[in-house]
Structures are given as C-alpha cells and as structure tokens.
C-alpha cells in the first residue's frame, strides 16, 4: 500500500501539465501547442542584452558623428547634432518596436534567449500591440531610472528628496510588475494583450532506439523490462543524451542491480555500458509504447499496470 500512494500523486502531476510554465494555445487545426512562458531569467537576460546593444550603438554613433564633424562648418555640425538627437530618440523608443514587428517578433536579445512576443489570444501579433507594449517601457524602465538618478545625484534634501524617494518606490512597482503574476506579464504586456513565450530552435537528435548496433547481445526478460515506467525511461533518455561517463556508470550499476542482470559488469568499459543502457532503453521503450497503444501509460516504476 505504501508504494501505491506516491504513484497516484505523481501520476496526476505527470500527465497533466508537467511544467507550470505551460500554457494552452489551440491552433485553428485543433492541436494544443503547449506554449511555454519565458521565465524571468530569460526576460531579464534578453533585456540586458538589448540594453547593451543599444548603448554600444549609441556610443559608436556618437563616436562616428563626432569624428565626422571635424573640419565642418557650423551648419554641418548643427545637422550632425540634429541627426544625433533624432537617432538617440529613435533608438530609445523604436529599437524594440522595429525588431518585434519583424517576422521573428523578437529583439536580438530575445532571439539569443530563444523567446518571442506573441498575442495572448493567439493569432496575429498586431503592430499596435507591439507599439503599446514598448511605449510602456517609458514608465517601467526609464521613469524609475530617472528617479534613481535624481535620488543619487540630484536634490535630496528636505521635501524634494522625500518626493524623489517616493517617486522611486512608486515607479518600482511598475518595474517589478512581472514578478507578481504567473504569466510574467510586464505592464506593457498587460496593456497590449501580449506575452513572451519560449520559441526554441527545433533540433532533432538521433533516435536512441534506432541506433543500429548489435543489440542482440542483450536480451531482457519480460520481468526485467517491467522494472521501470515512463518517468524512468525519460531519465534514462536524458542520461544517454548527455553521455557523461560517470553518470552512465552509476546508472548502469543501478539498473543491473534492479533487474538482477546476471552478467558480470565490465567496470572499465564505458562503451559497453553505453551499449547496455541503449539496449535496455530500446527494450523498455518498445514495451511501454506497446502498452501505450493499448491505452495504458505506465507513469513510473510504482505504477502496477
């Protein structure tokens, strides 16, 4: 009895939304894409990268423009200043909009973090939504920054100082907004009806079960195969894909003990262990998939089906 209890708990957890960041998005074709919300780290990382790019660009432009003014008359210099002012404005306000309106719906920072902006309702990401979510950055980032700078360097004596601090606290509420909702929405996302989701590059690795090796050497009995469930299969898959010799050794030993593998272990041969694990993986997957076809998903080793 003791063993069945945890199995029930894990079963509900496993089959229904294994990840709390998963959100349902049903395509018009009726398939749930199971979008993943970008986590806070990816969001901050992307923003820092973008900020860095913006600063570098601004410095580079300043440098180039100031270099090109040498030997110019007053009118030329003035045009350069005008160009710089406009450029700085557009960089600050339209950097994000420009990239997010593109086909990838992501700034360079977001591309690097493999995330993108998407419409919360599904369907098109409209240009005005991109505009709205980025206009709010003025409130979420630049206003707290301005308050912070004036709190640090400006007048901070008496009432004015207190007002600056109050303003700082007030504006930080907007900056920290994403921490207080489960979808990690910025104030801008809320207004625009958007969210930021993961959009990883599709990478297809080799099928572990398809690796045509002389697997005939390892023949497992029904009972030996039935030692594990889907959860363990997935752990085994990850171990094999990472291919770390130490972990492989440990896992091999554990499985051999669990299924009472009669053959003595060749302790110093990593390849032999890999082969063994691969064979066991294929056998286990075959067995579990057959069950799956008959409507039984054996979640883990405690599952008695």
């Amino acid at each position: 009895m003791k063993k069945t209890k945890p199995s029930k708990r894990t079963r509900t957890k496993q089959t229904f939304n294994p990840d709390k960041n998963v959100r349902t998005l049903i395509t018009p074709e009726g398939i749930d894409l199971r979008l993943r919300i970008a986590d806070g780290g990816a969001r901050v990382g992307a923003f820092v990268i973008d900020l860095f790019i913006m600063i570098i660009t601004l410095i580079a432009i300043t440098y180039i423009l100031s270099y090109s003014t040498s030997g110019m008359d007053d009118t030329g210099e003035e045009i350069i200043i005008a160009v710089w002012l406009l450029f700085a404005f557009f960089l600050r306000n339209f950097y994000f909009m420009f990239f997010e309106m593109g086909t990838k719906a992501a700034t360079p920072g977001k591309m690097l973090m493999n995330t993108r902006v998407a419409n919360r309702q599904g369907g098109h990401l409209k240009a005005n939504a991109v505009f709205a979510r980025n206009a709010l950055r003025e409130l979420e980032f630049f206003l707290p920054l301005a308050f912070l700078l004036s709190a640090m360097f400006g007048f901070n004596q008496g009432v004015e100082g207190w007002l600056v601090w109050l303003g700082l606290i007030w504006s930080f509420i907007f900056m920290l907004f994403p921490l207080f909702n489960k979808d990690r929405l910025r104030a801008g996302d809320l207004i625009a009806g958007t969210w930021v989701v993961k959009s990883p590059k599709p990478i297809l690795s080799k099928d572990l079960a398809g690796a045509s090796k002389p697997l005939g050497r390892y023949i497992f009995s029904q009972k030996q195969i039935d030692a594990y469930g889907v959860k363990e299969l997935h752990v085994l898959e990850n171990v094999l894909r990472k291919s770390d010799p130490k972990t492989i050794k440990e896992v091999t030993n554990r499985i051999m003990i669990k299924i009472s593998w009669p053959e003595p272990v060749k302790t110093d041969d990593n390849n032999a262990r890999r082969e063994f694990l691969n064979a066991y993986y294929s056998a286990l997957r075959g067995r579990l998939e057959t069950k799956l076809l008959f409507g039984v998903r054996r979640t883990d080793k405690f599952d008695k089906r």
């Binding site: 018009p28 993108r116 064979a279």
Partner: protein, 340 residues
C-alpha cells in the same frame, strides 16, 4: 525485443523528411519573407505544416521519445507563428494606418479627447488668472529651464525680442529635433502613465496647461497678447493637440483598467491599450511635424497674421482629417483593425 523494429522509430523515419523540409522552408520564411518562397513551395508549406501538426499529435499519443516530441512542438510552434503571423507588407500597413486606423482610433477617443482638452484648458485658465493677479505665481508654474529672459522682470522689448528671435538662422535644425524628441518623450510618458489609473496622465496634462497659461499671462501683462498668440498657435495647433491626444490615450487606458465594465480587466486593458497605441503612434508623427513648425516655421515666419493663418489652417486640417465623416464602406474594410 531487439528494439530495431520500434513502431515509434519507424514512424519517425517515415516522416522525418517532411519535417526537415518544413524546417528549411521555415528558416527562409523567418529570415526573409514570404516572397522568398517559390510558388511550389508556397503550395507545399501549409500541407507540410498540417502534416507536422498531425505528427505531433500522433507522437504525443504513441511515442515515448521526448526528443521527437519536443522537436515537433517547437517546429509546430514556430511554423504556427510564421504561417498565422502578419505577412502584410509594410507599405500597405502604413497606407491602412493613415487611411483608416489612425483617424478611426482618434474618433473612438472623442470623449477622452474632450476631457483631456478641458483639463488642459482648465489648467491654463487657472494659471492665467493666478499669474495675472499676482506675478509671483509665474515662478511656480514655469520651470527654470524655460525661463531664460522671459521673466516678469523683463521689459516689453526684451519679451518681444523672444517672440521674433530671428535673423540668426543657424541652430534651427538641432533646435527642431531637440523639441521633437523632448515633446515626444512627454507624450509617450503621458500615455504610459495612464496605466496608473489615469491620474498621473491627468496631472501631467493639467501641469502642461498651467505652464501654457502662465506663459500667456506674462505676455498679456506686457501688452503682447496678440503677438504671443501667433507665436504659440503656429506650432501649438499641432503640438498641443498632440499632447491632448496622448493624454486622452492614457486616460482611456486608465479608465478601462479602473472600470472595465462587462469585460474582464485584462481584456478591457488590452483592447483599450491597442486602440490607444494607434493614437500614440499618430501623436509621435504630429509632434515631428510640430517640431518642424516650431523649429523652422516659427523662427522664419515673423509676421503675426501669417502665423495665425498657418496655425489655424493646420488646426482645421487636423480636425477635418480626424473627424470628417467617411464613407461607411471604407470603415468596414478590414474592420478587425489587424493591419494597423
């Protein structure tokens, strides 16, 4: 039990080519545009996409290979976004924005625009009355950076000089672009502050009105009322209108957050936000024009009557553009507002 003949492995081998083909097309689609695909590829794309989606649902039901499932999930998600994403050309988006999107969004905000204009007018009136009764109020309304030589202590001649400062034409371009980026920042802030239940937007508009009123009061006090009117209206017709619209957009957001009505708060906020964003986009354009008018027009045109004529005609043009009734057909085209 050798594992060679796993059904899920066969399944993968049979379909892998389709997936890879979709991956290639997708990469081209994302990196360039839909026009980089040939006709044959265009026809193949939706079929490959649907095949991949069906592979995904079969794999979820029958395969235990995590790698294949996560691959198919990310491939399907990317293709979904590429296929159902916006493939509108930039030129037609821009055309739609000017023809339909912008004036319609402004019309939808008529109530807020009137409120915003009244608040600004109220601020101006208040400051005007206060400054006329006691000049000391002037210093509370006008920030030092704007003051320059325009203080109550200045003589009428000095003040007149600031209205017709001309002759020296250099510096206009930089001045115009400074004015634009400064004003546009204020407008975006007025919009963004709407998020805090509109109150800061209202305060910002009121404060802008106060500055305006105090400014006019100073000049009227020295008998330069008519002249300052011309000085203001030549660019103010565009600039002040734009700031009023930005405030209206902010108020709309704040209002719908505070009083969402029948919709959920989130829905109300996002529908108000995307509508107001169109207005704000237009406001930036208006401020760009206002910057040109202020930087060049005002400095080069020093005749009061011409200033008034230019000011009133721009105001008339804006009002006609935004509020003139259009043919119904035109409004209903693309009624979803997707393009703008």
């Amino acid at each position: 039990m050798t594992g060679i003949s796993l059904k899920s492995h066969k399944f993968r081998l049979d379909r892998e080519d389709d997936w890879k083909q979709l991956e290639v097309l997708l990469k081209r689609l994302e990196n360039r545009s839909i026009r980089s695909l040939t006709d044959a590829e265009m026809i193949a794309l939706p079929a490959l996409y649907r095949a991949t989606l069906s592979s995904l649902s079969v794999a979820r039901a029958t395969s235990l290979d995590q790698d294949v499932i996560s691959y198919l999930e990310s491939l399907s998600t990317r293709s979904y976004f590429a296929i159902y994403g916006n493939q509108m050309r930039m030129t037609s988006r821009i055309k739609h924005f000017f023809q339909v999107g912008w004036p319609r969004a402004v019309q939808n905000l008529t109530k807020e625009t009137i409120a915003s204009a009244l608040i600004m007018f109220l601020g101006a009136l208040l400051a005007y009355v206060l400054v006329r009764t006691n000049m000391d109020w002037y210093f509370s309304f006008i920030p030092e950076s704007l003051m320059d030589t325009r203080t109550p202590a200045s003589t009428t001649i000095e003040l007149r000089e600031t209205l017709y400062h001309s002759g020296d034409e250099s510096g206009l371009t930089a001045f115009a672009s400074f004015l634009f980026s400064h004003n546009a920042r204020i407008a975006i802030l007025a919009f963004a502050l709407g998020f805090a239940f509109a109150i800061p937007s209202v305060v910002l508009i009121l404060y802008n009105g106060c500055t305006l009123g105090a400014f006019v009061a100073l000049f009227v006090d020295k008998g330069l009322g008519f002249e300052v009117g011309g000085w203001l209206i030549i660019h103010g017709a565009t600039e002040i209108f734009a700031i009023i619209l930005a405030g209206a957009a902010g108020m709309n957001i704040g209002w719908s957050l505070a009083f969402p009505g029948k919709k959920s708060r989130m829905e109300a906020a996002s529908s108000a936000g995307s509508e107001a964003a169109i207005v704000l986009g237009g406001v930036v354009i208006m401020l760009f024009l206002a910057g040109l008018l202020e930087g060049y027009g005002r400095q080069l045109i020093t005749n009061d009557f011409i200033r008034y004529i230019v000011g009133f005609s721009t105001l008339g043009l804006w009002l006609a553009y935004f509020y003139m009734p259009r043919e119904i057909d035109e409004w209903n085209v693309e009624d979803t507002g997707e393009l703008s």
